[in-house]
C-alpha cells in the first residue's frame, strides 16, 4: 500500500487528509512540522510527501529544498492555502503545487500522478 506523509501544522488538515487518503487505500503518516523531518523520512520511507508551506516554526519551501537534495526522486506535493507562493522559484523543486480546498480531488489526482511518475534508472 503506498504511504503518504502529510506535513502540516494544522491538526484538522492532517486528520482530513488521513481520512480521505486512507479511504483510498493509502497508508498515512503525519508530521506536524519540520522537526527531525529528514530523519523521519529516512525511517518511515514514504512514497510521497504532501507538504504545507506556512508552518509556525518552519518554512515549507526551505524544507522542500532539504528534502529534494537528500531524496532526489521522492515525490513532494506542495499543498498550500496560498496560491501566491507559486511565484516563488523554490516551488520548482516540488513535483506539483495544489492550492488547499475542501475538495481534495486535485490533490488526489496529483498524488496518483506522482506515484506513476517513472524515470528509468540511469545507466552506468
Amino acid at each position: 500500500m503506498p504511504k503518504i506523509m502529510v506535513v502540516d501544522d494544522e491538526a484538522s488538515i492532517r486528520m482530513l487528509y488521513r481520512e480521505e487518503f486512507e479511504d483510498e487505500h493509502y497508508d498515512v503518516v503525519e508530521a506536524e512540522d519540520g522537526n527531525g523531518l529528514l530523519e523521519r523520512i529516512e525511517t518511515e520511507s514514504p512514497d510521497v510527501i504532501v507538504l504545507d508551506i506556512k508552518m509556525a516554526a518552519y518554512d515549507g519551501l526551505d524544507l522542500l529544498q532539504e528534502i529534494r537534495q537528500k531524496f532526489q526522486e521522492l515525490p513532494v506535493i506542495i499543498s498550500s492555502a496560498y496560491g501566491a507562493y507559486k511565484g516563488d522559484y523554490k516551488t520548482l523543486a516540488a513535483d506539483y503545487y495544489v492550492v488547499k480546498s475542501s475538495d481534495l480531488s486535485e490533490l488526489k489526482q496529483k498524488v496518483k500522478k506522482a506515484l506513476e511518475g517513472v524515470v528509468p534508472p540511469k545507466k552506468g
Binding site: Q65, Q69, Q72, G87, Y89, K90, A93, G117, V119, K122
Partner: protein
C-alpha cells in the same frame, strides 16, 4: 608563455576540430586544475573582460582551497578578444584556447574546453556566456559547488523576461521535459556547470555532428547529461539574465535549425529511455537566499510580424505541412492561418501535436531534414505570437504558470508521439 599552434591549425581550412587541434596561450603554464571557468566566445572583446573579472572573483572567493583557472575558448576572433581576455588582471591563472582560423562553432569551442578540462584533471567546469552583463561572482559558486558534491550537471535558473528565451519556453524545455522526464528549466541557458567525469563522457560520445559543433551544443550537452549516469541539479542564479536579447520576431538565424535538429536527432539514440518515461520530475535546486531578484529588462516584440510570418510561412509550406500533419492537425493549422491578426490563437494543445508531428517527420525523413526544420519556423512564430498575445499584462511569475501548463500539455500528449513513433518503426 606556451603557444601551441599545430601545423594543421596554420592552414586556416574550414574543417571540424580534432583533439587538441587548438591555438593555446597558457602564460602561467597551468597543467592541473580542480575548478575551471570556461568562457566561449567569438568577437566578444568588449564584453569578455567584465565576465572574466566576475568569474575570477567568484573563484577566489568561493573556491580558494582549489586550484582554479579561467579558460577562454574562442573561435579565432579578429576583434582582439584574446588580448582583452588575457589582459584582465584576474588574480587567477588564465588559458586562451582557440579553434584554428576558419573553424567556427560554439560546439567546437566546447569540445576544446572538454579536452582541456580532462587534460587538467578538472573536477568542476563552470561555463558562462561571454556577453553577460548580469553575472556576479555568486553564479560561479552556485553552478560550481554542486559539481564538487558529485552532481554531473548543473543548469541555471534565472529570471528572464517573459519574451526572452522563446525557443526555450516553447520548444526545448517542454519537449525535453516530456521526453526525458527531468525538469531542466533552462536546457539551453548558456551558463551551466558540468563535472570532469561528464566532460569525459562528452568526449567519448559518438553523437557529435555538424550542428552539435555549432549552436546545437547546449541542448546536446543537457540531453546527454540527463541520460548519463550522473545526477543533475539546477542552480538559482538570483537575478535576471542580462545579455544581448533579441525580438523573437527578428530573424532566428541558424540557431533554431541547429537546436531543433539536434533535439530531434537525439531522440533516436535515447528512444529506449523516453518511451518509458511517464511524467516529469524536478531536480534539486541550489543557491537560494540571495534576496529578491531584480526585474529583467524589457524585450520588445513585433507581434504583427510574428503573425505575418506565420501566415506567409503557412502558404509557402502548405504542401509540406499536408505531408507532415495528420488531417485533423493540418485542418486546425490551416484554420488558424486564415484568421486575422486580432483573432488568431495557436493554443498549446495544438502546439504540442505540431512539435511531435515534426519530430516524427524528422524521424521518417533521411533527406531534406534542413528544409523540414526551416518549414517549422513559421509555426514557431505563430506559437510565439499567440503566447505574447495571451501573456500581455501578466506578471513574470504568473507567466511561469502558463509555461508550466504548456509543459503539462506536452506530457499529457506524449502518448500521441509514442504511438506514432512505434507505427513508423513497425511500418
Amino acid at each position: 608563455m606556451i603557444v601551441n599552434v599545430s601545423s594543421e591549425a596554420r592552414s586556416g581550412e574550414d574543417r571540424p576540430v580534432t583533439p587538441r587541434d587548438w591555438i593555446e596561450k597558457n602564460p602561467q603554464r597551468v597543467e592541473q586544475a580542480d575548478v575551471v571557468v570556461g568562457i566561449p566566445s567569438f568577437n566578444e572583446a568588449d564584453c569578455i573582460p567584465f565576465v572574466a573579472e566576475q568569474a575570477a572573483i567568484g573563484l577566489k572567493t568561493y573556491f580558494s582551497d582549489y586550484r582554479c583557472v579561467l579558460i577562454n575558448c574562442d573561435n579565432a576572433s579578429k576583434d582582439n578578444t584574446r588580448e582583452a581576455f588575457l589582459s584582465v588582471d584576474a588574480g587567477v591563472p588564465k588559458i586562451y584556447l582557440s579553434t584554428p582560423p576558419g573553424v567556427r562553432g560554439k560546439g567546437n569551442n566546447f569540445r576544446n574546453l572538454f579536452q582541456k578540462s580532462v587534460d587538467l584533471g578538472a573536477r568542476a567546469i563552470v561555463v558562462v556566456d561571454a556577453d553577460l552583463r548580469s553575472i556576479t561572482p555568486r553564479w560561479i559558486k552556485n553552478l560550481g559547488e554542486p559539481l564538487l558534491q558529485d552532481y554531473g550537471y548543473v543548469a541555471p535558473i534565472y529570471i528572464r523576461h517573459k519574451y526572452d528565451g522563446t525557443i526555450t519556453n516553447h520548444l526545448a524545455y517542454p519537449f525535453s521535459r516530456a521526453l526525458y522526464g527531468r525538469r531542466i528549466r533552462q536546457p539551453i541557458g548558456g551558463d551551466f556547470g558540468f563535472s570532469g567525469k561528464l566532460a569525459a563522457v562528452y568526449l567519448e560520445s559518438d553523437l557529435w555532428d555538424e550542428y552539435v559543433s555549432l549552436f546545437g551544443i547546449d541542448i546536446w550537452m543537457t540531453t546527454l547529461a540527463i541520460n548519463s549516469p550522473f545526477p543533475v541539479a539546477q542552480a538559482f542564479l538570483g537575478g535576471p539574465k542580462v545579455h544581448r536579447t533579441k525580438d523573437p520576431a527578428a530573424t532566428l538565424g541558424p540557431m533554431f535549425v541547429h537546436v531543433i535538429s539536434v533535439m530531434f536527432r537525439l531522440m533516436e539514440r535515447f528512444q529506449d529511455t523516453w518511451e518509458k518515461v511517464q511524467w516529469s520530475k524536478p531536480t534539486p535546486i541550489f543557491g537560494f537566499g540571495l534576496g529578491d531578484p531584480d526585474t529583467p529588462p524589457p524585450v520588445q516584440v513585433n507581434e504583427e510580424r510574428l503573425h505575418s510570418e506565420f501566415v506567409a510561412g503557412f502558404r509557402r509550406n502548405e504542401a509540406l505541412y499536408r505531408r507532415v500533419f495528420p488531417e485533423d492537425v493540418f485542418g486546425k493549422v490551416q484554420e488558424i492561418a486564415g484568421l486575422s491578426f486580432d483573432q488568431f490563437e495557436l493554443p498549446s494543445n495544438l502546439w504540442a501535436k505540431i512539435v511531435y508531428d515534426f519530430a516524427l517527420a524528422f524521424y521518417r525523413l533521411e533527406a531534406d531534414r534542413d528544409a523540414l526544420i526551416e518549414s517549422f519556423v513559421p509555426l514557431y512564430f505563430g506559437r510565439t505570437g499567440s503566447y505574447v498575445r495571451s501573456t500581455q499584462g501578466i506578471q513574470l511569475r504568473a507567466v511561469e504558470d502558463y509555461i508550466e501548463e504548456q509543459c503539462l500539455v506536452f506530457e499529457e500528449t506524449k502518448p500521441y508521439l509514442v504511438e506514432r513513433w512505434k507505427e513508423i518503426q513497425e511500418g
